[in-house]
């Protein structure tokens, strides 16, 4: 079952994602309907957001921007991601949508970035997760070395002993040299 999701993640290339799926506009329509009397205003705002919404995933980070009058742009790097939330309301499930929220270590409780309208949200989340700190071995001890904790520890001890003896030799040599120089000067 892991194979399946993995190959799906490989097929999915987030760099291709620049615009939300069209179905997001339909979802926004339903959301706006929920605001009842304020429907025209909400719909206008959400429509503008949908039309101007842009995503850009590159090697180091992701940015999104939207807005007509008030433009907003959010940039963050994958390494700074603290946690990833995926929220799916019932409408979103029916439409195959999800909100992928990314949080960094900033002080706000609301997620820094909410990626909406990506149909391959599972693959996107796996992609972000793989880029996240601590999801792979690189920032943690290598798997091979983790098993034999004594090996490197003893090696470090040995190395320290070597350094100490080296330093002692240098010290002794210097002391001898100084003594010799003093002797010559004295003579």
């Amino acid at each position: 079952m892991h194979e399946g999701s993995h190959s799906q993640a490989q097929r999915f290339d987030p760099r291709q994602v620049t615009r939300p799926a069209d179905v997001l506009l339909r979802y926004y329509g339903f959301i706006a309907l929920c605001s009842l009397i304020a429907f025209p205003i909400t719909m206008l705002v959400l429509y503008c957001k949908f039309v101007t919404l842009r995503y850009r995933f590159d090697d180091d980070g992701v940015s999104m921007s939207w807005g007509v009058l008030f433009r907003r742009e959010i940039n963050l790097t994958y390494r700074r991601i603290q946690d990833i939330h995926v929220t799916r309301g019932i409408l979103q499930r029916w439409m195959g949508l999800a909100t992928v929220s990314i949080q960094t270590a900033s002080g706000s409780a609301t997620p820094e970035m909410q990626i909406e309208g990506v149909l391959e949200y599972e693959a996107l989340r796996d992609f972000l997760y793989a880029k996240m700190r601590g999801s792979r071995e690189e920032s943690a001890p290598p798997a091979g070395a983790a098993g034999d904790l004594d090996g490197p520890g003893d090696e470090a001890l040995e190395l320290l002993g070597q350094i100490a003896s080296d330093l002692r030799a240098v010290n002794d040599a210097l002391a001898r040299g100084r003594a010799g120089a003093d002797g010559e000067r004295g003579a």
């Binding site: 601590g134 920032s139 240098v170 010290n171």
Partner: protein
């Protein structure tokens, strides 16, 4: 009794059938992409948690129904004909929400998943709105274990992990939606899980703020020094001090 059990089981399966079919609620555990050979376990809250929720349900049920019963008796004393007419709807109001609430207790239990791997966790909760949180242990700042008296009676604790950043109040659905927290309710053995998470966080030498960990990261550095190491280090420091004193005596 077994017939009743089978019937309730059948009803419950029917509810889940509607939920998965019509409302697209996934019943299986969420996936966590692990490295090959990595152990990924999918956990549920423990049985004690279910008993605890059921106890809370019965308590709430008792309070509400006693209140409704007393109200009906008062009505009976004041206006007997009206009270008798209202008896049937009154009973429906008393009983039907309880059934839904009882099913909801089980739904909450069955839709809550904690998927743990060696380096991260994924928490899912919710039926109408499904919240899924993914946190790597590396990013975890602290682990809180809380246990109330009733929870102690049922033998479980709540485990709250927090990542850096503010805002998360640590309570309720809103926190799991927005805050920098992951809540694991109903953990039977919180100490083991806490140690697993904290060991991982201890291995990491970074602050968990998204900074790149140093490339040379030996387990020896993280696993702590023995007294032999410290002795050797003392010698090194002593010799280094001598070297400095010899080469630049002016200092």
């Amino acid at each position: 009794m077994s017939v009743a059990r089978a019937a309730s089981q059948w009803v419950y399966e029917g509810v889940w059938g509607v939920l998965t079919g019509l409302f697209r609620v996934p019943r299986e555990a969420p996936q966590l992409p692990g490295l090959s050979g990595e152990k990924v376990v999918a956990l549920r809250p423990c049985d004690g948690w279910l008993s605890y929720r059921k106890t809370l349900f019965w308590l709430a049920c008792l309070i509400v129904d006693i209140a409704l019963g007393v109200a009906w008796l008062l009505l009976l004393a004041a206006q007997p004909p009206l009270a008798l007419v209202l008896l049937a709807p009154w009973l429906i109001v008393m009983i039907v929400p309880d059934i839904f609430a009882y099913i909801a207790v089980y739904l909450r239990y069955d839709s809550t998943w904690y998927v743990l791997s060696d380096r991260s966790m994924r928490i899912r909760r919710g039926v109408w709105i499904i919240y899924e949180t993914t946190i790597t242990y590396e990013n975890i700042q602290n682990v809180r274990v809380t246990q109330g008296p009733l929870q102690r009676l049922f033998g479980f604790s709540d485990l709250v992990v927090e990542t850096a950043g503010g805002g998360g109040s640590g309570k309720g659905e809103g926190a799991s939606l927005g805050g920098h927290v992951g809540i694991l309710e109903g953990v039977a053995d919180p100490a083991a899980l806490r140690d697993q998470i904290l060991d991982r966080a201890r291995l990491s030498r970074s602050t968990g703020l998204g900074d790149d960990a140093p490339r040379r990261d030996f387990p020896a550095q993280a696993s702590g020094w023995t007294s032999a190491h410290v002795r050797a280090l003392r010698t090194v420091a002593h010799e280094a001090a001598r070297l400095r004193a010899t080469i630049c005596p002016a200092d």
